[in-house]
């Protein structure tokens, strides 16, 4: 057994990882059963930052990611939009990444148009689109939107969009929400928006790679943070707990559906993060096992060399 592990081809590890991720996806996909989530204080802070705002508040949602990070970030992007829409906040979507507007469009199609058809483009939400310049964009729009955003992503002039007439800069926003996959993202928003203008409040969701680098900003510069898919799952648990009746599947009479435990059966598109925690659990167990095996082999080898 020792010799087997010592000379194990890395491709067997790839295969094990494939099974560790694939099998839970298939099981969860077939049964619909997921693991319970216990939200941490950071996820609660994000939830309350949106929940405690009065109805109709102005929220800037900057979706600074692309399809490469969709697995981690689209669940939180979906929930941010749902939460803001459920609270009837006015949503100003924008992006510092070129593919960001498509991510915004996906969210608008899947969440706002399907579940909030009463919301009107231009009055309740607007997609301002992408501008190049990374932190330069933040630096400009923190004092004047129209210097860069002359139109929205559809080409409608800024001045003719009703909800845009109420804001002149980022400082007019009641909350900044950032979904970040790297540069430019949460760090730049903290550096060029929140730190120089401390009256601004910001929460963010980010990839796992970024999360440890952003913790030092909490809580003074960043009110709350959703770290990777775990943070997304916790936030989903909080939003579904609060708005479960609205997010649940409907029976023939249009009533929200409940399971054996009396819990609402939430529609699949709002439990993406929670579903992905199943493969996470099994894959992490495999990782831990491999690290232990690797260390045992290392120490046994070192001991053998010492004897020689």
């Amino acid at each position: 057994m020792y010799e087997f592990f010592k000379t194990l081809d890395r491709r067997w590890i790839f295969l094990m990882m494939f099974l560790a991720v694939a099998v839970p996806i298939l099981i969860i996909g077939a049964t619909g059963r997921t693991f319970p989530e216990e939200p941490t204080s950071l996820a609660r802070a994000v939830f309350h930052a949106i929940e405690d705002l009065p109805e109709g508040s102005k929220v800037l949602l900057s979706y600074d990611y692309d399809p490469a990070s969709e697995g981690e970030l689209s669940p939180m992007a979906t929930m941010f939009a749902y939460h803001c829409a459920a609270k009837r906040h006015r949503m100003y979507f924008m992006a510092l990444w070129p593919v960001g507007p498509q991510m915004v469009d996906d969210t608008i199609e899947n969440v706002l148009k399907k579940d909030f058809p009463e919301l009107e483009y231009g009055k309740d939400y607007v997609n301002l689109g992408y501008k190049s310049g990374y932190e330069g964009v933040i630096k400009v729009i923190i004092t004047d939107f129209t210097e860069l955003y002359t139109t929205d992503t559809r080409g409608t002039p800024w001045g003719t969009i009703p909800m845009c007439q109420e804001v002149s800069s980022v400082q007019d926003m009641d909350l900044l929400v950032n979904v970040s996959a790297g540069y430019a993202g949460t760090k730049e928003w903290v550096q060029y928006a929140v730190t120089p203008y401390p009256k601004l409040t910001m929460v963010a969701g980010c990839t796992g790679v970024q999360a440890p680098l952003l913790y030092p900003y909490i809580p003074q510069q960043l009110q709350g943070l959703l770290g990777a898919i775990k943070g997304a799952a916790e936030y989903e648990a909080l939003v579904t707990e609060c708005y479960g009746a609205r997010m649940a599947r409907r029976d023939a009479e249009g009533n929200p559906m409940v399971d054996d435990d009396g819990m609402y059966v939430i529609r699949g598109k709002y439990t993406e993060g929670i579903r992905r925690m199943g493969p996470q659990l099994v894959a992490h167990l495999l990782m831990i096992l491999l690290i232990i095996v690797g260390n045992v082999i290392y120490f046994v080898e070192r001991r053998k060399e010492g004897r020689r």
Binding site: T150, T207, Y217, R276, A283
Partner: protein
Amino acid sequence: MKRETLIWTMVLLFGALLFLANGVMRGAGRAYVKEVPMQFVNVAEPGEVEADWIRYNSELALDEALCTQRFEEIPPELRVSWTRLEKAERGEYLTHQATEGADNPYRVSVSRTIGVWVAALFTLFLFSFLYKDNPLYKIAEASVVGVSAAYWMVIGFWDVIVPNLFGKVAPGIVRVWAIPGLEDPPNYWYLVPLILGIMLLWRLVPKGSWIGRWPLAFVIGTTAGIRLIGFIQADFLSQIRNTVIPVVAVDQAGGFAFWDSLKNAIVIIGVLAGLVYFFFSIEHKGVVGKTARLGIWFLMVTFGAAFGYTVMGRIALFAIRLEFLFDDWLWLIDPTMKRVPDEVVTAAATLLTALGAG
């Protein structure tokens, strides 16, 4: 052919045949769209220069005499129509197929179906690198690079150069050509970045490439200035302020908050120990050496946390690719019930609710 290669080729061929059979027999991998008719009429008064297009069948159209006619009877110069294709699901298609038959606005989209298959095959091509480098991986890699470069160029032109440069310098032309509602007056200050941009492109010319250094110097200087201020404010001064926290914390009732105190103490000790480790003007011996050693421990914990988060992130990315393959391509799972007709979903929901109530 080596025996190992032959076995793997056979396995891959068998897998490909299975996938193909799944696609042909079950229709797996199909994508659906909804046809939405877009009909607009020009309700501008006779003699008005500017057209006034409104949507036929909208609330605004109720007040217009022109819109009381059937759309086809309106003079062709006063109407325009096209069909917009919106993303739809198989469940919606099946639901409407049962009730509307030939008038079903939902249909299979050939182009989007090809898109799903290309995405799935390219995912597999990229995964194939885990076995070993191969031409299929190279094709997928080169395609991603090429498409990304082209996409960035197109986005940069239409989202930045057209509205933010041409639209500022010559709004009249852009109004006619690209953005009809543009109302801003010309702002000739934007000629400065235009000139700098042209100077930057001069690098491509064999003679006079030094001209490109001037705008480059401008870019480097301004970027350095902006970033310096950002880091000093957000990552230096603010971080010092964030570390000035009470070691003995009190809760809202005025009592001793043990966990908050412990957390604050760890933050302060961690910061100080980490700083001592990076302070090389004093030899790391005695108390300084032990503190530096503690600093290393804190750094190791940080690296461990970063590694853990990275692993979590990568597994999440892997999971969504597999979800795409199993759900959108192979139709093995359907967690969002998008391929089930509405009546089946509601029947299942009713049954489950009844069981839950029972």
